[in-house]
């Protein structure tokens, strides 16, 4: 028995030794592109990564889903094979992130805008289609809403959509949406809620006088159970909407696109969330998607240049490219051309303008 034990522990030691040595080896070079970032961009970045990996002599890039903020943090941690080459983001990079990048030696960042994503306010297909304004959405979902007197805020008293706006049906307000950690939530709050919030003149005036208060009013969602945080899984929200025709859900356009026979998007400010309306910029709740690449890694990490080219090729992000099949809304021709040129020349981002 003691022999047995000895060989077991020997095996264990051998395993550790082996793995450590191979780990040391892995640090010395990386032969695949390493991408991190937004879970909204993830479905698009992965498709490009897969097509690129299968269609070229390079390995398939690794795409990690970390969220926009987490991804940019990893991205900005430094230059070298241990750090990601590309960070996906469902919002533009912030000045603070550019600064932290620069502090770690990541100075030349190439910004690539890849297209748009619409955020839809949807309900079950068998329910009535709603026509909402952004102000309706704000009044229905904000924690505090403007009272009768100017400058007065009251705890949100609205229980049904008819309370918000007499033209709307008298059904209970029940909205399923993503949690605060989600980029979709950020964008929804910024575009839909804030857009509706500004409709009240005295709140809009606060923007210049008391920015914090303005944000607190416009960005805070009610917590009395009318808005339900349904987690990051958009498929789950679609299922719940089917089960409850009175409920509404907030999710990305690609999920509406894939589930057209189960859910439908409400008209916001009179515009239906369709591919064309989002591409034209008519639909108000849409946001640009980005990724950021490290210039210092191009031609050091095998395949990075090719990956950038694949992502910005017409067959990927074009009007009829494979990304549009997945629900990415392409940019107008001129803008695509401009970004593609910038990517080819690896023009770094300059934040001086801000």
């Amino acid at each position: 028995m003691s022999n047995h034990r000895k060989s077991l522990s020997l095996a264990a030691i051998a395993t550790i030794g082996l793995s450590l040595s191979s780990a040391a080896f892995a640090q010395s070079g990386r032969d695949y592109v390493y991408i991190v970032g937004s879970s909204t961009v993830y479905p698009f970045a992965t498709v490009v990564a897969e097509r690129f990996g299968r269609g070229s002599e390079f390995k398939t890039p690794k795409v990690e889903s970390t969220g926009s903020g987490g991804g940019l943090k990893l991205f900005c941690d430094g230059v070298g094979v241990d750090y990601p080459d590309v960070a996906n983001s469902s919002r533009a990079i912030k000045q603070s992130e550019v600064d932290s990048c620069a502090a770690n030696g990541v100075t030349e960042i190439v910004e690539v805008k890849i297209g748009y994503d619409g955020i839809v306010f949807a309900n079950a297909i068998q329910a009535e289609t709603m026509t909402l304004s952004r102000a309706d959405i704000f009044l229905a979902l904000a924690k505090e809403v403007p009272g009768k007197a100017e400058g007065e805020l009251i705890e949100n008293p609205y229980q049904t959509w008819a309370d918000v706006n007499p033209d709307l049906p008298a059904i209970k307000i029940e909205v399923l949406g993503p949690p605060p950690t989600s980029g979709t939530r950020d964008a929804f709050v910024e575009l839909a809620m804030e857009g509706g919030c500004k409709a009240t003149p005295w709140i809009a005036a606060l923007k210049s006088s008391d920015k914090n208060r303005y944000k607190a009013i416009c960005h805070t969602i009610r917590e009395d159970g009318r808005f339900v945080e349904a987690g990051e899984n958009d498929n789950l929200i679609v299922q719940k909407l089917q089960a409850n025709p009175d409920a509404f859900g907030i999710f990305g356009f690609s999920f509406l696109d894939q589930n057209m026979e189960k859910v439908k998007g409400s008209l916001i400010d009179g515009v239906e969330p369709t591919f064309d309306a989002i591409a034209d910029g008519e639909y108000p709740v849409s946001r640009p998607l980005y990724f950021y690449a490290k210039k210092a890694h191009v031609d050091v990490i095998p395949g990075l240049r090719g990956f950038l080219r694949e992502f910005t090729s017409e067959r990927a992000w074009g009007e009829e490219g494979y990304l549009s099949d997945r629900g990415l809304i392409p940019m107008p021709d001129a803008e695509r051309k401009q970004v593609a040129t910038a990517v080819r020349d690896l023009t770094p981002l300059s934040m001086a303008a801000e």
């Binding site: 028995m1 003691s2 034990r5 077991l8 522990s9 095996a11 264990a12 395993t15 550790i16 082996l18 793995s19 191979s22 780990a23 080896f25 892995a26 640090q27 695949y32 879970s39 993830y42 479905p43 970045a45 992965t46 498709v47 990564a49 897969e50 097509r51 990996g53 299968r54 269609g55 070229s56 002599e57 390995k59 398939t60 690794k62 795409v63 990690e64 889903s65 970390t66 241990d82 297909i125 990051e232 899984n233 958009d234 498929n235 690609s254 999920f255 696109d257 894939q258 589930n259 057209m260 026979e261 009829e320 997945r326 629900g327």
Partner: protein, 411 residues
């Protein structure tokens, strides 16, 4: 007396109701899983007569696999099958019937057997996931055209191909032999399974010897005092710590401090080792405790040293119990996803990992990723992956039970 009887009866009834509720929920869970998941083990294939034309693949006499137009060959074959699809729009719709995997399949075929160049082959290639969903009845052909992912024309072509016997539902081998993919019809769990296997190897190699050694020391050699009590309390506490905490620890220690690569099975295995160690130590100590003191006393009485007693007598008798504990620990590790989220394993990885430091995912993480994918065909694949995971867990737990039954000694 009747009151006591009544009380006993109520209590028994409550117990039965509780058990029944448990069984009903378990049954519902399995039924929904199987109802949804089994269809993923089949996939619709399309038979195409593809001319592997030299003019298309090697226009300047040289075949370059990376750039050869295999897509073009598939499209030509498809057009030959459905000649009435003319015009750019129609053709684009037609091409969506077949999976992009068809071109990869052709490329692999030519790579293996370059002699086929210039011949015409009759091949079964995967249909696109939407066609697959239509055949499986997950897309309703009777609803309004704008509401479904397939147009009336596409459905017409699919029916036509079906009538010609060119469409067939076959076993979905890709599910077991491919890595992850964003095309549902090409996505497989092999990458995730291999990732899990590598992780469990690391976990087993580390946690079993360390756990058993710790248990032997604590039971047989350690003096009983305040320190050993403190250690014991801590081990028991560790066993109940939420697993995400171990992930955070792994992120701080193994990745940030020891600079091991993110998303590597090695790091995953180390984190899962931390997670399973307390379980194994506790089970091993219980197994050692169950060895009757008379055996130790007899051995000591015959002049054996303490070490000899442990290794010649106690350990062999306690081993079945220890192994059971280890297997149960392993099956917990297999089902864990939370700590892996922290160390970068929530990633899209197509290549099947070949070593401990290659990027990898694990089965539970793969399930998590698929559950969140917008394409509807991933729903059934998610269930199928869960069925496979449950299968593995069942086998491991059964092994533990059989080991215990076989090797257990009654005193």
């Amino acid at each position: 007396m009747p009151r006591r009887r009544r009380k006993e009866f109520t209590f028994k009834l409550l117990g039965m109701v509780a058990t029944a509720i448990g069984i009903v929920f378990l049954g519902l869970f399995f039924a929904s899983l199987i109802a949804e998941g089994t269809s993923a083990f089949k996939q619709t294939f399309l038979k195409l007569d593809i001319e592997l034309s030299e003019d298309v693949l090697a226009p300047d006499g040289e075949l370059d696999l990376a750039y050869a137009d295999f897509d073009g060959l598939v499209r030509t074959a498809l057009r030959a099958e459905i000649p009435e699809a003319s015009g750019r729009r129609d053709r684009r719709e037609l091409y969506r019937i077949v999976s992009v995997g068809a071109a990869y399949q052709l490329r692999d075929l030519i790579a293996q057997n370059p002699d086929l160049l210039g011949t015409t082959q009759s091949l079964w290639v995967p249909a696109s996931s939407n066609v697959d969903m239509l055949i499986k009845g997950n897309i309703d052909a009777n609803i309004e055209e704008a509401l479904r992912p397939l147009s009336d024309k596409q459905i017409g072509w699919v029916r036509q191909l079906q009538d010609q016997g060119r469409l067939e539902s076959r076993f979905n081998r890709a599910l077991f032999t491919n890595g992850d993919s964003r095309e549902p019809e090409l996505a497989g769990i092999k990458g995730a399974v291999m990732g899990s296997v590598y992780m469990l190897l690391v976990t087993m190699a580390l946690s079993f010897p360390i756990g058993v050694a710790a248990a032997i020391y604590l039971e047989e050699f350690a003096p009983r005092n305040r320190w050993s009590d403190l250690i014991e309390v801590n081990i028991n506490n560790l066993a109940a710590v939420p697993s995400i905490v171990f992930g955070l620890l792994g992120l701080a220690v193994f990745i940030n401090w020891a600079a091991l690569p993110r998303a590597a099975p090695l790091v995953g295995g180390l984190v899962l080792t931390l997670l399973t160690l307390p379980v194994i130590i506790i089970a091993s100590r219980a197994a050692i405790k169950a060895v009757p003191p008379s055996i130790r006393e007899a051995a000591l009485g015959l002049g054996a040293s303490q070490t000899q007693v442990v290794f010649h007598h106690v350990l062999p008798l306690a081993l079945p119990g220890m192994l059971t504990g280890a297997i149960i620990g392993m099956s917990r590790a297999l089902g864990e996803s939370a700590p892996l989220l922290m160390i970068g394993m929530v990633a899209f990885i197509v290549d099947v990992p070949g070593s401990l430091t290659d990027p990898a995912t694990a089965l539970p993480v793969q399930i998590f990723l698929w559950a969140d994918s917008p394409e509807r065909a991933f729903a059934e694949r998610t269930s199928a992956a869960i069925i496979v995971l449950l299968g593995f867990l069942l086998v491991m737990n059964l092994t533990a039970v059989i080991l215990r039954k076989r090797m257990e000694r009654k005193w």
